[in-house]
Amino acid sequence: MTWQRQHLLDIESLTAEEILAVLDTAKAFKAVGERAIKKVPALRGRTVVNLFVEPSTRTRISFELSEQRLSADIINFTAEASSLKKGETLKDTAKNLEALNADFIVIRHSAAGAPHFLARVLNAHVINAGDGAHEHPTQALLDTFTIRERKGRIEGLNVTILGDILYSRVARSDVWALTKLGARVTLCGPSTLVPKTFEQMGCRVTYDVEEAIRDADIINLLRIQHERQRKTMFPSINEYVSLFGLNKARLAKTKPDALIMHPGPVNRGVEIDSEIADSNRSLILEQVTNGIAVRMAVLFLVNGGKGPQEIAAG
């Protein structure tokens, strides 16, 4: 079996084989999710702490459901309710959770590298559920899973990621996952949010949206996180919409089989025209569904699970 890791901290350090191992395992779990009884005993008796130091709804719910379907015991721990606000350090909080014999810590944190820090100080398995502007590995795995499912392959595809790249952990994880699997990735958005430095990660940067999407097989739209942008990054949402928003006129100039993705939550009418979000070219809801299977696969493999054959047998 190719998967030997104790943690899932980022995509950058994974090999293509490791990524494929997750995708293949997720495929088996997706089949489980389509059965009448969706639960497997893989993590029975194991305790998972969802340590969400930065608020999140969909990633937390997706992890919770994945853990429930693996029969794990779950503790949800959010920053608002926690002692972190009272000045306890992350290390102390995590050590306390470990003292309760938690086996897994799923961490979402606004500081890049926080999961790596936890993995150094804890014996528990650490799963990165998004760290600052660094990585969001399970999102990239579910994106890759969804693309492979619909297109049959990753290698040779043109994938364009459009929007706020600078602050996006999804963009970074997607770039690593897709380029490792042989896709050609193009990044596009306002120059303030898409510095050329990203090209050193093995992708291409362009500021011409029409050119960016013309030959794309997949167009992955990222949320314009207006609450995070200082006013210096771009003049207005309206200007963003007119320059980079995916509207019908722009979509008409793409390949007819180009598919649209978005990690959510969607700002309708900003990065994407509302009708396009609901069209049959949109994979947005499939991404959500696949997120469960992918996160089950990650927890299963990190726990020492053997691979898809074991799930099929069970």
Partner: protein, 459 residues
């Protein structure tokens, strides 16, 4: 009579253009003789140290350290900080004013002088603040600070953003011939940056601290030095552009100078991504052929300092600036922090690393052993150059001068360990590094402040 004779060493005294094998005699805290006369003039009861094979030089001066007293003594105290200095070969240090309270008034200066007289192993000189509370809003009582004995002013750790205020500080301090030192950082450009802005900040998802954030203030300081005729000293230079600006300004005769720290000319931003990335790329030439190299993880907070570690190109430019004399002064920016303060998320860790106990070795490695600079030119950057900037009667082995003397073995190979650390804090990225060059005796005012293996040296 207190007498000490150092025999057989290589005496390197850049202030007197001396680099020769010679004996050195200390009588009653002063240099009494150097050379052939020394042994003959030594009284019979003089203590003798055989320092053959070692370098004997004026006591090293580090003009940029944080001793954390008063108010931050869990990190460091005058006693532990100066013990670290002595062990690193330093006979004089200049402590920065960002303490609690800040050193913006004569009373705090007096307190430090008094406590240093009781507790310190080496000479402690005090830098006062430029502005009240280091808040960058109003001038501190610079005249009172001068009278209380500060050797310079700086808001180090912070940077005076208001250009008019900085101009007035320069004009005012010039009246007292008091050097002004500046931590160069443009806040509006740097915002919340935690590491050098470049590929690694992008890949690691950390907020970038662009080199231009330093260069902009270096340029500002050059213009203000020209406007006021005052001298500005730019602290801990990290960026290639800063070196170029200062080089050009000095050619035009502008009174501007700079200093560099070993971490900025040894490490790069790639180190923040972990040791593997560093040794694979920017660290390659540091230990050619060596297989077993020190290891550290990504996001190690002991690689977080302000200004940050920069690119390989910046590191090269700092080295070039040291070689061609643009940067005259070496220092550590010794910035101790408690383990629990550093054992947090990278974003939340305080900036700074300790340096007093490793800076001589790292400077020798990158400048002397790497054949970039002669031993004498290197020693000058730790002795006569800082003494000249701060108008200290130090940094020389002239007969009659204070007997501050450092003895070091430039070729000694050693490893820095937590167990052998004199500082109260351990926030150094250089633990476990194979180092070359080490102080073996530190003599302050004729008194041995620290000596390695006394029995081995005593004749």
């Amino acid at each position: 009579m207190n007498a000490l004779l150092l025999t057989g060493g290589r005496v390197v005294d850049p202030a007197n253009r001396l680099d020769a094998r010679a004996d050195l005699l200390i009588l009653d805290g002063k240099i009494a003789a150097v050379g052939e006369a020394a042994a003959g003039r030594a009284p019979a009861e003089a203590e003798r140290l055989d320092v053959s094979g070692k370098v004997v030089c004026p006591g090293l001066i580090d003009l940029h350290v944080h001793l954390r007293e008063p108010g931050q003594t869990p990190k460091e105290t005058l006693a532990t900080g100066t013990a670290a200095a002595a062990r690193g070969g330093f006979t004089s240090v200049v402590c920065m004013p960002n303490t609690t309270p800040t050193i913006d008034n004569a009373g705090t200066v007096a307190l430090i002088h008094e406590r240093a007289a009781q507790h310190s192993a080496v000479n402690v000189f005090v830098a006062g603040a430029i502005t009240k509370g280091i808040a960058g809003e109003e001038l501190a009582s610079i005249g009172s600070l001068k009278r209380a004995g500060v050797v310079a002013i700086t808001d180090d750790g912070h940077c005076v953003q208001n250009n008019e205020l900085m101009r007035r500080a320069l004009e005012y301090a010039k009246m007292f011939d008091l050097p002004v030192m500046d931590h160069c950082q443009d806040y509006s450009l740097v915002t919340t940056g935690v590491m050098h802005e470049g590929y690694w900040s992008t890949a690691l998802g950390l907020q970038g601290w662009p080199a231009a954030g330093e260069e902009m203030i270096v340029a500002r300081n050059i213009l203000l030095a020209e406007l006021t005729g005052a001298h500005v000293h730019c602290q801990h230079l990290s960026a290639a552009g800063s070196v170029a600006l200062i080089r050009e300004a000095r050619k035009r005769g502008v009174r501007v100078s700079g200093e560099a720290c070993p971490h900025h000319f040894t490490l790069t931003d790639a180190a923040v991504a972990g040791s593997e990335e560093f040794w694979k790329r920017d660290g390659k030439q540091l230990y050619p052929g060596q297989e077993l190299l020190p290891a550290w993880p990504a996001y190690d907070t002991n690689l977080k300092m302000n200004p940050p570690l920069r690119s390989a190109r910046d590191r090269e430019a700092i080295l070039e600036g040291l070689v061609d004399g643009t940067i005259e002064i070496l220092c550590s920016d010794h910035a101790p922090h408690c383990d629990f303060e550093k054992e947090v998320e990278f974003d939340y860790a305080p900036f700074g690393i300790t340096g007093l106990e490793t800076e001589l070795a790292l400077s020798l490695m990158q400048l002397h052993h790497a054949k970039r600079l002669s031993l004498s030119d290197l020693v000058a950057k730790y002795t006569v150059a800082p003494a000249r900037l701060l108008r200290l009667a130090k940094g020389t082995l002239s007969v009659g001068a204070d007997a501050d003397v450092t003895v070091f073995d430039p070729n000694r190979e050693w490893v820095f360990t937590r167990e052998a650390t004199a500082s109260k804090s351990f926030n150094s990225p250089f633990y476990g590094w194979p180092l070359k060059g080490k102080a073996v005796a530190t003599i302050v005012g004729g008194r041995i402040a620290w000596v390695e293996q006394m029995e081995a040296l005593a004749v």
